[in-house]
């Protein structure tokens, strides 16, 4: 029997993998992808509870999360491209100055 707890453990594990990615990797694209993993972990939780409670609200919020993720990816990747054009690097450690 699969209970919501199972889904929560899965979600927590995925969340942690995402956090480790953000903390440890220096490639900013990989960091962005780790953030996507974190958002997915949240979505799994939302949908699991939606299933548990037989209530569509969780899924609705998951859709909002996806919309936010899309916006985040678009702007974030735009910033990465602009940064790369100037510095020719995507190493986050070199992004220490807040100006070009």
């Amino acid at each position: 029997m699969i209970t919501p707890t199972h889904y929560m453990v899965l979600s927590a594990a995925l969340f942690m993998i995402g956090v480790i990615g953000v903390m440890v990797r220096r490639n900013i694209i990989v960091i962005f992808m780790s953030i996507e993993l974190i958002l997915n972990a949240v979505n799994i939780n939302l949908v699991a509870f939606s299933y548990q409670l037989q209530n569509g609200i969780g899924q609705v919020f998951a859709i909002f999360v996806i919309a936010v993720a899309a916006a985040e990816a678009a702007v974030g990747l735009g910033i990465i491209l602009a940064f790369y054009r100037n510095k020719e690097t995507i190493n986050i450690d070199e992004m220490s100055v807040m100006r070009w």
């Binding site: 602009a82 054009r85 100037n86 070009w100």
Partner: protein
């Protein structure tokens, strides 16, 4: 004084890099590429898909025809001229023979002049068929390619019947022609003229008002009349820019002075205008062929030519209008030997190719192939 490597380095160092700099992509198009019409090599520097700069590299088909000619006797050279513009070999033959005739002040019989005119115009149609087919193919209209080749095949058949060869004819002799036309040949040529007139309408139906064709060719590779003249363009590429220069009209040779025909010119100088000019030339060529065949005079086909051709000492330049433009021969004879002292060709493809770099600048990769097609080159003639 040229800029040496040392100065070049300094220049690059002082030029500030633009704030937003993306990497440029260098693409080597050719010499093995489906749309460079042979072994042309174009090195493109691209920004995205936009051509920033280009370098046209030729010479992959160089056979040294000019130098070879200085070691062949005057008749043998005709055979070499076949190998230059192999799409319209008879035109090169005529150009060379007329140059030598001019050097020797030979009189060519009228019948030979008329047949030469008809053959030249047949070659023009054949060459334009090949141009239209490949040009349309480059832009993606694959059916036009086969339609145009279908008609070119008919012309090759006519040539085969006339001289036995389909590509390199060796069909002229200094002072006239080696062969008279076979019986019934003239009827076949006239029948072909009727077919060709219909087929030109068919090509136009597929392309001229086609929206995509218009978008792909209008305002692509515009060259003004002034620039075109300055670069030395000739033929349809020049006339597309609106310069009414046609050697057949301006300095008539063969029987052109007795023919009625118009010289179509463009207005904008873009790829579409060059296309329209060539399509109209199909019709004008058919008109000339009809006049030449219907008005074919009787008489000998070769003038009084000495057994040993040895032009007097002197030099001459003579140009005729090949399908691609002005093909000129500059020949120096020392009057003593049986081969030319100096032999030099002004090939239209080579001169027209000079415009390519200028034309493709700022256009996209897809336009590069359209423009290579639009100026209509034959690498055999460019590299000689």
């Amino acid at each position: 004084m040229g800029v040496g490597p040392h100065e070049k380095v300094k220049m690059e160092a002082t030029t500030p890099r633009p704030a937003f700099d993306t990497e440029e992509l260098v693409i080597n198009m050719g010499p093995q590429h489906p749309s460079t019409h042979g072994v042309l090599r174009v090195v493109l520097r691209l920004d995205g898909e936009k051509v920033v700069d280009s370098d046209v590299i030729i010479g992959y088909l160089h056979r040294g025809i000019e130098k070879l000619s200085e070691n062949r006797n005057w008749t043998q050279i005709i055979l070499l001229t076949d190998r230059m513009d192999y799409i319209a070999a008879a035109t090169s033959n005529v150009g060379y023979c007329q140059t030598v005739e001019k050097l020797m002040a030979l009189e060519v019989p009228r019948r030979a002049q008329y047949i030469r005119t008809a053959l030249c115009e047949l070659q023009r149609i054949a060459s334009h068929c090949l141009w239209l087919g490949t040009h349309a193919m480059d832009i993606g209209a694959m059916t036009v390619f086969l339609y145009a080749f279908r008609e070119r095949e008919l012309i090759l058949d006519l040539f085969e019947e006339y001289c036995g060869a389909r590509l390199t004819y060796n069909s002229m002799r200094i002072g006239g022609l080696p062969l008279d036309i076979p019986s019934g040949w003239d009827k076949k040529v006239l029948a072909f003229c009727d077919i060709q007139m219909q087929k030109v309408d068919e090509y136009e139906e597929l392309l001229t008002n086609n929206r995509i064709w218009l978008e792909r060719t209008r305002d692509i590779g515009v060259i003004s009349a002034r620039d075109a003249t300055a670069i030395g363009l000739s033929g349809p590429a020049l006339r597309g820019s609106g310069v009414p220069r046609d050697i057949r009209k301006d300095e008539p040779y063969a029987a052109y002075s007795e023919m009625k025909f118009d010289v179509p010119i463009g207005t904008r100088g873009d790829t579409y205008d060059r296309y329209l000019v060539r399509l109209e030339e199909f019709r004008q060529s058919v008109r000339i062929i009809r006049q030449a065949i219907e008005g074919l005079p009787e008489g000998p086909i070769i003038g009084k030519v000495p057994r040993l051709i040895k032009p007097p000492a002197g030099e001459t330049y003579h140009a005729i209008e090949s399908p691609k433009g002005e093909i000129g021969f500059f020949i120096v004879s020392d009057g003593k030997s049986t081969n030319p002292y100096r032999f030099r060709v002004r090939p239209p493809s080579f001169c027209n190719l000079q415009a390519l770099s200028r034309l493709i600048k700022g256009h996209l990769v897809a336009d590069v192939v359209a423009l290579i097609g639009s100026i209509d080159i034959v690498l055999g003639e460019v590299d000689r």
